[in-house]
Symmetry: C2
Subunit: 84 residues, 2 copies
Amino acid sequence: MYKVKVYVTLRESVLDPQGTAVKNSLHSMNYREVTDVRIGKYMELIIEKSDRDIEEVIHELCTRLLANTVIEDYRYEIEESVAQ
Amino acid sequence: MYKVKVYVTLRESVLDPQGTAVKNSLHSMNYREVTDVRIGKYMELIIEKSDRDIEEVIHELCTRLLANTVIEDYRYEIEESVAQ
């Protein structure tokens, strides 16, 4: 069993209106020292071991469903085996 | 200047309908090996150095705006960076 942490972020060149909104809110709360905010998604998946390579499976999950690779990048960390 | 990565996740005891929807989608795509999905937020902030302690500032940002601490937990990583 693997615990997989997936981070999906907008590509550098893509505008992030949600991040801009959060930054503006922080400025209006007087946190002027915050100069940039980018918002992404964080996902934790529990995946059973199978006969397929785990990296291959995660790559498929990300490109087919979890990330829109036209505008988003993803990276992941695999923690092997949660005893259960 | 600091680059701060903030991870906001639903507390363990809180239901995650978005995660369940993603898990069901993955099952319908035949990824039966995915047994659990939890979805959170990932934020990257650029924060200028100020005379306030950076950890104190981040703690405030998270509790006042970025996370709803009634149902969410947060953690963060600080990368000190100068170059731009």
